[in-house]
């Protein structure tokens, strides 16, 4: 047991193990994993500002590793990433100040509001992901491969047609993304994600990536690189600000970084053997599963911290919410290995496996 804040102790091995699980999920689905990390730390007893600061200090270097790995792919619209990052920095400052003001208030207001905002955000994102996954599954059943459709062309939604059509000065051309949109819209989306980053301790990838694809109309592959750089700049700033306020437990962040980064590498390698639909299934499941632990912890705070089983249940559910997606990834990878060797796999798993020649090339 190590002291994580004044009078608060946590099991280092449990934190390291959970870090490995979060890394595996984050690497597999291609996000920084803040939506899993911050609730875990709060549920395990970290005060909300320390949980947010420590999660940011862990995700910043983990994101740097991903940026270094992806720099060779060239899937990056630097102009859009920098404009969005400017908005993210402004928004993050608002989020950090908001959390600092709540921390100054007596009681558990900061914990309650961070948990409440996390639950609302995750529920919204989770529902939209389930709809998208159901739509993709239906397309696959009808014989249309959604992966190749997304990879070959841009996804044009009515929202992105509307936003691209808004002639608000400066209406900018983004040559690499092959689109024209007002700089203010990009800045505003960045700012909203920044508020989430500074207040909730998340990288914002699970919001930024869909926003780039479905609101701005960026090609899917370009959105991945742009999101990574945008996340990195936003995370660096949020981490710096939280460190200034003394909200970072560096030792815990570094221990968890060691295991999380290993998990991320394994998870990222695993994506070569499955289709995008399998990745989106795991992402949707992990986002939905991440709601239950914080919801129980929030109920514990709201009942005046008197119903102790709610707190215990929150801890158990939090560990389980990591175990379920990790178990799904392991099952998928075992089946993919069997499929790759030519062995028979269950019928439900076949549409989720990558083509053999694609996996061999990877």
């Amino acid at each position: 047991m190590v002291e994580v804040a004044t009078g608060v102790f946590a099991n280092l091995y449990l934190l390291a193990g959970l870090g490995l699980g979060v890394g595996l999920i984050a690497g597999f689905v291609g996000v920084s994993g803040g939506y899993l990390l911050t609730p875990i730390l709060i549920v395990l007893g970290f005060p909300a500002p320390i949980a947010v600061g420590t999660a940011l200090a862990l995700m910043t270097p983990n994101n740097l590793i991903a940026v270094i790995r992806h720099r060779e792919l060239g899937h990056l619209d630097l102009k859009m990433a920098l404009i969005m990052a400017a908005g993210t920095i402004g928004g993050a400052e608002i989020g950090v100040r908001l959390l600092d003001a709540l921390q100054a208030d007596k009681g558990q207001l900061a914990d309650v509001l961070v948990l409440g905002a996390l639950i609302v955000t995750l529920t919204g994102v989770g529902i939209s992901m389930i709809n998208e996954v159901r739509h993709s599954s239906a397309m696959l059943r009808d014989g249309c491969d959604s992966d190749s459709a997304a990879a070959e062309g841009e996804i044009t939604t009515s929202a992105c047609s509307f936003l691209q059509g808004l002639c608000v000065f400066p209406h900018m051309r983004f040559t690499k993304s092959k689109l024209r949109i007002s700089g203010w819209i990009v800045l505003l989306i960045g700012a909203l994600i920044g508020v989430l980053s500074g207040f909730l301790g998340v990288g914002g990838g699970f919001v930024r990536c869909p926003a780039l694809i479905y609101l701005i109309g960026q090609p899917s592959m370009m959105a991945v690189g742009t999101n990574l750089l945008g996340s990195f700049i936003g995370l660096t700033f949020s981490c710096f600000r939280h460190a200034m306020l003394g909200n970072v437990n560096l030792g815990i962040a570094l221990v968890m970084l060691l295991t999380t980064s290993v998990g991320t590498q394994i998870g990222a390698s695993g994506t070569e053997y499955v289709r995008g639909l399998a990745v989106r299934y795991v992402l949707a499941a992990s986002v939905i599963a991440a709601i239950f632990g914080p919801a129980l912890k929030l109920a514990w705070f709201l009942t005046g911290q008197e119903v102790t089983w709610l707190n215990d249940a929150a801890k158990i559910v939090t560990v389980a919410q990591i175990a379920v997606p990790v178990g799904s990834i392991i099952v998928l990878l075992v089946l993919a290995a069997r499929h790759f060797r030519g062995a028979d796999v269950p019928g439900w798993a076949r549409p989720l496996m990558a083509r053999r020649e694609h996996a061999a090339a990877g």
Partner: protein, 88 residues
Amino acid sequence: MRSSSGIFVMATEALAAVLTVAIMAWYLIARRAEYAQRVERLDETMVGLLTLTIVLLAGLLLAFAFARAEDVIDQWRENRSARQEQGE
């Protein structure tokens, strides 16, 4: 085909980078109070910069370690297939 001593050097470099991060983490946990006392004397901007430098340095070290580990695996596979071809 690279010699096994080359692979050994790359593996050692990867291990050294990971060990450096592990030692940093151990120091910050075992000597938390001492570190907090030292940091207390600094201006809060300096605390922010110091923290950011430490986490980014750890990130760079781990990125280097993973790159080296990948090189080791690639070289090992290359050497194994070269040996198989020579055997045939």
